[in-house]
Amino acid sequence: EDAAEESNVSAELIALRKRLVDEWNAWRALCKKEHAEERGHKHEKVRESEEEKEEIE
């Protein structure tokens, strides 16, 4: 009975850890996506301003 209880606990723990890792990975993926978009946006801005300069010239 004890052994069965123990294995239940560890199954719960494994499920909890799986959930924590999934949540962490989902948050990291979102951060990385936003970070990449911001960087891309920054580069676009730089390109735009370069183009503007060229037009002025």
Partner: protein, 334 residues
């Protein structure tokens, strides 16, 4: 995991930093000196001398060309990493408590202390990388006084002109350095002084430590608390282990309140916590006083701790540590 003991400071360590490659370790101390060491064998490569007060803080640029320091003699100094020469000295009305480079090396942010009628101030300086580095502008690009509790730690975030700060009250905040405006804050991030703040590789999150005995991971965009690590001792430093799911925490009770036996035995420990599960996974003993500062090698192959005891200890991880998956095969994003 055999430690290398770095003996070269006569007083307590205040901050240690690896360079971007991780071959060099910089350390600063209350003995007014900054040292640089080879991280693989602990040999001292050089000393940066010339300051007249406790050196509170240092940072190194990504090319290992310039190092910046802040000290109790009210100066911030720019040093040549290679020659050990002081290239430029900025003077302030009060002590410099924290300095940090921007990730593109173009700017430095610094915090000066609130004292003798002077408010706590945050300044951003442009770093002129042309020539030999001696031609720097005396005046800051931006300067402001953070409202409310004084700032203790700071770093640039990936968002242009936005820095993240930790405060004496336990607050963590985002400031626009151009306007001095507090963009966002978490007044209850910690219950006591924020003692350290270290950024993740991409700057999208950071870890803070506090005298409230806890360390926390924050999203640097919205200040959301992602993880909390609660210990039973006041913390002075917290570091992230790159590519491994661990955080390293260091601190300890002040010497006054510690029994002499624990002082003799070198019982002050660096605590390893699982970053995602918020569970302690191990401790490394060794220091004879509280741990003031921890840094992890940028490739995660070793870590170093600096103590109130005046020692720096470098620990190279065994293969077993690098391969270990203590909680199974779950892939954890860095």
């Amino acid at each position: 995991m055999r430690p290398i003991l770095l003996q070269g400071h006569e007083r307590s360590l205040t901050q240690i930093k690896f360079n971007a490659e991780g071959d060099l370790l910089f350390s600063c101390s209350k003995d007014n000196i900054i040292n640089v060491w080879y991280s693989h064998n602990g040999e001292r490569l050089g000393t940066y001398e010339g300051g007249n007060g406790s050196v509170w803080t240092i940072d190194v640029d990504s090319e290992s060309r310039f190092m910046v320091s802040g000290a109790a003699d009210n100066t911030m100094r720019l040093w040549s990493v290679q020659t050990g020469k002081c290239l430029y000295t900025w003077e302030f009305p009060t002590a410099v408590k924290r300095v940090a480079f921007k990730d593109d090396d173009s700017q430095v942010v610094c915090i000066t202390e609130q004292r003798m009628g002077h408010q706590c101030a945050i300044r951003v300086f442009n770093i002129n990388r042309e020539g030999d580095g001696t031609n720097q502008s005396k005046e800051p690009l931006y300067m402001f006084n953070p409202i409310g509790s004084k700032a203790t730690v700071c770093a640039f975030t990936p968002t242009p002109n936005v820095i993240i700060t930790g405060h004496e009250s336990g607050k963590v905040a985002l400031f626009n350095v151009k306007t001095g405006e507090e963009i966002d804050n978490n007044e209850r991030a910690h219950g006591d002084v924020v003692t350290d703040l270290q950024m993740s590789k991409d700057g999208t999150y950071c870890i803070t430590s506090s005298k409230d005995k806890s360390a926390r991971i924050h999203d640097t965009k919205n200040l959301m608390v992602i993880k909390t690590y609660t210990t039973e001792t006041p913390l002075n430093s917290a570091a992230l282990a790159p590519d491994r799911p661990y955080v390293l925490l260091g601190g300890g009770q002040e010497a006054m309140s510690v029994t002499t036996t624990s002082l003799r035995q070198g019982k002050f420990e660096t605590r390893f916590w699982h970053k995602v599960f918020e569970e302690e996974v191990g401790r490394v003993k060794g220091h004879f006083g509280p741990i003031n500062t921890i840094a992890v090698h940028p490739q995660g192959t070793c870590y170093a701790s600096g103590g109130e005891d005046g020692f720096v200890r470098v620990h190279h991880f065994d293969d077993s540590y690098l391969k270990a998956k203590p909680y199974g095969d779950l892939e954890i994003a860095d």
